[in-house]
């Protein structure tokens, strides 16, 4: 447990010291909100959720890429792969919550007649999915530029696809959009249930995939035999 907490803490410390990055992470959802604010509250809420998802997954991508050189030696020092990826994920989830809370308060103050509980759940889904999603891209693509471009593609696709379209359900942040519809348009509870389930399933799938990628990348190689000292 101590190892998980230490990795999570160091992830948070590293990210907290990137003040410019933190500012941009906060600026991004705010910009999304402000652009759509005058047209229709539903659109501004959806844009805000997408902004949070983009911000957290970008932070996860950069944190994972930055740790690429460090992790093999931490593995040698005695960490197991799950200490490293779960610890980092915990740190990123904490950061995601810290980003989401002020924006939740913003919706409470700035928008009326919303199901605020639904907004909170949608934001939680964004954060829950975004951290392992960004980590997965960071683990699969060795360079940050490629990872950022892929993230951009996914978020743009998410923005442009009709949520009613079957293919839209395959996008990672569909859940937050569905829950936001329930919260803004006061639709039936099916939207909330579907969205919540989608968020849970996608989060679990992403965590399992991240676990697989880290287990392969940080595996003990077959040619190396450890013998205890007699």
């Amino acid at each position: 447990m101590n190892r998980l907490v230490t990795v999570a803490e160091m992830t948070l410390r590293e990210l907290a010291r990137r003040r410019g990055v933190i500012l941009l992470l906060l600026l991004m959802p705010l910009t999304f909100w402000l652009i759509r604010r005058d047209s229709y509250v539903g659109q501004s809420v959806r844009a805000l959720l997408l902004g949070i998802s983009w911000a957290v997954s970008t932070a996860a991508l950069f944190a994972t890429s930055a740790a690429r050189e460090l992790e093999p030696r931490l593995r040698l020092a005695g960490y197991r792969p799950h200490h490293l990826y779960i610890g980092r994920m915990l740190g990123l989830w904490a950061l995601g919550l810290a980003i989401a809370v002020p924006f939740f308060l913003l919706t409470v103050v700035d928008a009326n007649n919303l199901r605020y509980g639904g907004i909170a759940v949608a934001m939680l889904c964004c954060v829950a999915v975004a951290a392992p999603f960004g980590m997965l891209i960071g683990a699969l693509l060795p360079r940050e530029l490629e990872g950022t471009l892929l993230l951009l593609t996914v978020v743009a696709m998410q923005m442009l696809l009709d949520p009613a379209d079957a293919g839209a359900k395959l996008t990672p942040f569909w859940s937050s959009r569905e829950i936001a519809t329930w919260a803004v348009d006061h639709t039936d509870d099916g939207y909330l249930t579907r969205g919540f389930l989608h968020g849970m399933v996608v989060t679990v799938l992403l965590i399992v995939t991240v676990a697989g990628v880290f287990a392969v990348r940080l595996r003990r190689r077959r040619h190396l035999h450890h013998v205890p000292i007699a």
Binding site: N2, R13, E14, R17, A66, E69, P72, R73, L74, A230
Partner: protein, 272 residues
Amino acid sequence: MNTDDWLRAFAAELYQRRVGRDAARHVVAEAATHLREGGGDPWLVFGSPQAYAAAIVESIGTAPGPRPGPVRLHARGITKRYGRQVVLRDASLTVRAGQIAAVVGANGCGKSTFLRICAGLVSPDAGEVTVSGRLGYCPQQGGTADFLLPDEHFVLVGAAQGVPRGPARRAGRAAARDLGWDAESAVLARHLSGGTRQKLNLTMSTLTQPDVLLLDEPYQGFDQGSYVNLWDQLTRLRDEGRAIVVVTHLLNQLDRVDLVLDLTPAHQGGRS
């Protein structure tokens, strides 16, 4: 180099040349007294620390080195290809407790690859490695976190072995001091100079008390004093019974190691 630096370098030279601890302390104290009472530049009075240490060794001899212990690292038949290019062909190395092995060779001959294979970070196409005890690895570059303080690196590495924060910080600072670096300052790793960052890298690799220590050109960016401190520390670790493998291209250090593995393609294989 002032008098204190000269004396420090002289003491390190005596230590590395295996002059007995008491005898070395006595000789250094005598030299310090002579310089203090007589004054003058130690370079003019005694010459270089290396030359004077060599003269002392000739006159009083050396203490017998500790006998090498059991095998700690055994790499055999290591072959590695990148595409059609064979980087390593049937390379082997055996290092015992209390030995320092140097891996040398021309640029691109596979020194770092060999070390990464020994560390289990890269798989070979053929061959195997057996390690007894805990493994420590210091990469040539990278391996630190830009936005963490040195103390936080020590805590992170210490936690891997269940070491509490306080003792991990103290152990890290003490190991850093052995390299002539005060690690207490609150400077992020990204603001450290290249040499100091490498000292952080090296300190991290020794923090877990490894039985086998793999160092990939650990002296990058070191000044002369730090370089002397590094070899002083390596010699101390060897005498404590660690097995050490150093990738190096500085052949002037080969007289201080117990084994040499030359990976230059023309004459591959290990020699003692």
